[in-house]
Symmetry: C2
Subunit: 163 residues, 2 copies
């Protein structure tokens, strides 16, 4: 359960950016199941910029805790741009955070389809009112997909914050 | 960010017990920051028994999301039997789960005191209406303390479920 050095370093780097800019962060995780918040809180002093995070594994959790519309989940599915868009806006509001990450994907081994194969992950990134959604596809087994999704989300939010 | 084989095995073992007994689980994590939910969702098919989890890092999050009384936090502190008692009852209710784990501790390197040194961790365990709280002390650095807390909580809840 040790963090890979790279992920720990990314979390520390992100923490420094947040601290230097006086920003707070939150997460809403589905397939990564808390791995991003676990990485973020690896950094000593992270309580300065992170104070609550959500693991919303079921559709009900996404609706009840983050305010994702049931219509969105029904029409587009949990692993979709529309869902992560609503997830990341919802979690930023719920935590009153400046920055937020939302993740919903198919880590496998089950749950894949032709349209959305195992390894498909949608990300939502929130930066002080602006939202960006991005899809990626990761290879490997369940653990590999989850780890790559954590790594991807940290790199992306760092890159967005540095822009 | 790979799970240690032991923790992955404990999570799978716990998952099998929950599945066989038709039970659901949830978590409220402070110092472990999502590591327990990350471990639990490592097991394929875990959506059958886990659907939402909370990382409540700040006192406000513990109050607002889990219903921990501000008086409790003020009088006993976040790392206390009283707080994890209220955390675990609160999260079981919030997730309507049969089984719940709550963790609040001092992972370090800062935040320790003579009374509550770094490595002090309080755990709350909820099993269908019954609550058990337990304190432990782990040695090592921040990552070691967090990992041992995850390991401890999984072993303990398995043992309680097997009793």
């Amino acid at each position: 359960m040790e963090l890979h050095t790279e992920i720990a370093e990314l979390a520390a780097q992100l923490g420094a950016i947040l601290t230097n800019n006086g920003l707070t962060i939150t997460t809403a995780e589905s397939c990564t199941g808390g791995g991003i918040s676990y990485a973020l809180t690896d950094t000593p002093g992270s309580s300065a910029y992170i104070e609550r995070c959500f693991v919303t594994y079921s559709n009900e959790a996404k609706s009840e805790l983050l305010g994702v519309a049931q219509k969105t989940l029904r029409e587009y599915g949990a692993v979709s741009e529309q869902t992560v868009y609503e997830m990341v806006q919802g979690v930023a509001a719920a935590a009153q955070a400046d920055v937020a990450i939302a993740v919903s994907g198919i880590a496998g081994p089950g749950g894949g389809s032709q349209e959305k194969p195992v390894g498909t992950v949608w990300f939502g990134f929130y930066l002080q009112g602006k939202v960006l959604c991005e899809r990626s596809h990761f290879s490997g087994g369940r653990a590999d997909v989850r780890e790559q999704a954590i790594d991807f989300s940290l790199r992306k939010i760092i890159s967005l914050l540095n822009t």
